[in-house]
């Protein structure tokens, strides 16, 4: 996997999302929001995807070592927790994947909410043009 390629993909997704949010049609705005949230998810994954080479799973046959370091040593560039005697970047960071999972679930909820809202706006106003939504101006 190429780190630069991923950065480029994220940048293009942000661009497409921003372009769609600036459209007049509500549905396109919503699609733009979803694309931006996907770009953010990719960004989170990229924060930890290239830092290790092993899968962060401890199998049952493996003995968990007792000399685990839980305190940071910033002078030596050690960020806890890690196993003593191993490289600091031995495992792929599992936390970012958990973060992305949470972010995906949340963006599902917000997207569902905003689609319902767009439907109700279409019912009330008879249009999906954002510029016609100006009863509150002034």
């Amino acid at each position: 996997m190429n780190n630069t390629l991923l950065s480029l993909v994220i940048a293009i997704l942000f661009g497409i999302g921003t372009f769609l949010i600036l459209r007049r049609d509500i549905v396109r705005v919503i699609i733009g929001l979803s694309i931006i949230s996907h770009a953010v998810n990719l960004l989170i994954v990229s924060a930890g995807a290239f830092s290790g080479k092993d899968v962060p799973i401890i199998t049952h046959n493996e003995v968990v070592p007792t000399n685990t370091i839980f305190s940071d040593s910033l002078k030596n560039g050690v960020l806890a927790p890690l196993l003593n005697g191993t490289e600091p970047t031995h495992f792929v960071d599992p936390l970012v994947q958990a973060l992305v999972l949470t972010a995906i679930v949340i963006s599902l909820a917000t997207t569902a909410m905003i689609i319902i809202l767009a439907y109700r706006i279409h019912e009330e106003y008879g249009t999906t043009d954002i510029q016609k939504l100006k009863r509150l101006w002034g």
């Binding site: 949230s37 839980f70 960020l79 905003i114 706006i121 009330e124 009863r135």
Partner: protein, 512 residues
């Protein structure tokens, strides 16, 4: 009881979430649902007061959710968190009582679960010590508040389509804000390798001392200004607020203006004075300039409003600028002053919004030009609105006077003369627009009885009066006897500026 003692922080979040789930299931039993909701809200008020007392007496409380130490999610109650939680639970209890009579029966069955989720989201974001968890609770309170804005009142003066339009703006802007917050959080995580706020703070300080602080930390700081500025509606991002707060039902307006925009203030205090404490100097001028623009634009827009709730919303924009001004000054006195300001504004603005609900119900319109002479038909509302208006305008003996006094005092001590002069000018504006509103609504005669009809004779129930009386009493009490609040704010500001106690409480823990 002693074992329960330890669990206060999680109870403040767990009780509202549990009750939200129960009230969804009890939708067919309105009485039971209401009783449960009010009971839960009251118990949350009690628990938050107990938590504040505990934090005051025995220092910062750290609660590990799942006993994973700093690697798991922790809840931290320091003086700032605990005191804001007391404020928010108090305002939400009063708003809930008020809304029992004010909200339409049909809306009330979905209103209770959403209200409890909103409270849970508020308390979660105030109490959490984990920056990603802060994001999660922001989303909880965003979605539940969207549902509450579209709830219908009994009087039906605000049209459903207006509510939808306002909610659409609110939701789009806040989803974008949430995306920006996620970017900031992910970048912080990539920089420091942790999500625990105390841990991030220690690592950023160590990097700063070693001279290895990457430049993108400043970009992250700017992103956080946008995120919390959007929540708190400061200057370039305030346009959604004057649409959303007036269209929401009055008790929800009180919650939004009283507590929800304070989430942004809280986040600003927490992130900039704690996480970014050693790189703060660069952001202070930005915050001061934004605050001054917010004060000016909010106050100048409020002067021209004819809609009573829109006026109050613009006044909220202006007042939150004063809070941010204190944060921008950044000295001990100024932070204490902005905390005092935040408390007084929350109470006075909730009072004004709840009163405006009564006024609208009475007059049948939100347009102040169609009112007038209401002091005869509704003297109670006149007095309550006058007390709130005097507090926002900053007249003694109300709480607003004390808060403006300590803020300007701190600014003059810090030699910010120009800023204080601008703030003083717009304080006169705020006096003008509050009293203009009061005179238009209550003084004189009704302008055109034929065209606008008589006032409704329907009196309000004690459920509407009691919260207003209590809040008015609090505004007066905080003005006349303000020493406890001032000393609490001083202690809180000292804790914010010297976060060593917080860091020690969080980081020196045993990992199992």
């Amino acid at each position: 009881m002693s074992s329960l003692n330890h669990h206060y922080p999680i109870l403040l979040i767990a009780i509202p979430i549990l009750v939200a789930a129960l009230t969804i299931m009890l939708r067919s039993r309105p009485k039971l649902q209401t009783g449960l909701s009010v009971l839960a809200s009251f118990s949350v008020v009690l628990i938050s007061s107990l938590l504040l007392m505990k934090v005051w007496n025995s220092g910062i409380q750290v609660y590990e959710v799942g006993e994973w130490g700093k690697y798991g999610i922790i809840l931290v109650a320091d003086l700032l968190s605990a005191s804001i939680v007391v404020l928010s639970s108090g305002v939400s209890f009063l708003s809930l009582i008020y809304s029992l009579d004010y909200i339409k029966k049909r809306s009330l069955s979905t209103y209770h679960p959403l209200f409890n989720l909103l409270v849970a989201g508020l308390h979660g974001s105030f109490l959490t010590g984990d920056i990603f968890n802060l994001f999660v609770f922001f989303e909880v309170l965003l979605l539940s508040s969207c549902g509450l804005v579209v709830a219908l009142e009994k009087d039906g003066i605000t049209k459903s389509s207006d509510k939808l339009e306002a909610t659409f703006k609110y939701l789009i802007l806040n989803i974008l804000g949430a995306a920006l917050m996620l970017i900031a959080v992910a970048s912080l995580y990539a920089t420091t390798g942790t999500l625990n706020m105390a841990d991030i703070s220690v690592k950023l300080s160590a990097m700063q001392a070693a001279g290895t602080l990457p430049w993108h930390v400043f970009a992250i700081g700017l992103l956080f200004i946008v995120v919390f500025g959007n929540k708190a509606a400061i200057f370039p991002l305030h346009y959604w607020l004057p649409d959303v707060h007036p269209t929401a039902p009055s008790p929800i307006s009180a919650m939004l203006s009283g507590v929800l925009i304070k989430v942004g203030v809280y986040g600003m205090l927490r992130i900039f004075f704690f996480v970014f404490r050693d790189v703060l100097g660069m952001f202070q001028p930005i915050i001061i300039i934004l605050a001054l623009f917010t004060i000016g634009i909010g106050a100048a827009s409020a002067v021209a409003q004819t809609d009573v709730k829109r006026l109050l919303a613009y006044s909220s924009v202006s007042q939150i600028g004063y809070v941010f001004l204190g944060i921008g000054f950044g000295s001990l006195g100024a932070i204490a002053a902005s905390l005092v300001y935040m408390f007084n504004h929350a109470i006075a603005k909730s009072l004004l919004f709840l009163t405006s609900g009564g006024i609208i119900h009475h007059a049948g319109t939100r347009d102040m030009n169609k009112m007038g002479g209401m002091v005869n038909s509704s003297p109670f509302m006149a007095v309550a609105f006058l007390i709130g208006a005097m507090s926002i305008a900053g007249l003694p003996p109300m709480g607003g006077f004390i808060s403006k006094f300590v803020l300007f005092d701190a600014g003059i001590i810090g030699k910010y003369y120009t800023e204080i002069a601008i703030a003083l000018l717009f304080a006169i504006f705020s006096m003008f627009y509050m009293f203009r509103a009061w005179l238009l609504m209550f003084w004189g005669e009704k302008r055109d009885v034929k065209a606008y009809g008589e006032y409704s004779e329907h009196g309000s129930s004690p459920l509407v009066y009691l919260p207003i009386v209590f809040l008015a009493f609090m505004v007066l009490a905080l003005g006349v006897y303000s020493e406890p609040l001032l000393s609490l704010a001083q202690a809180t500001a000292a804790q914010i500026l010297d976060p060593q106690a917080y860091i020690e409480a969080v980081l020196t823990r045993v990992v199992r």
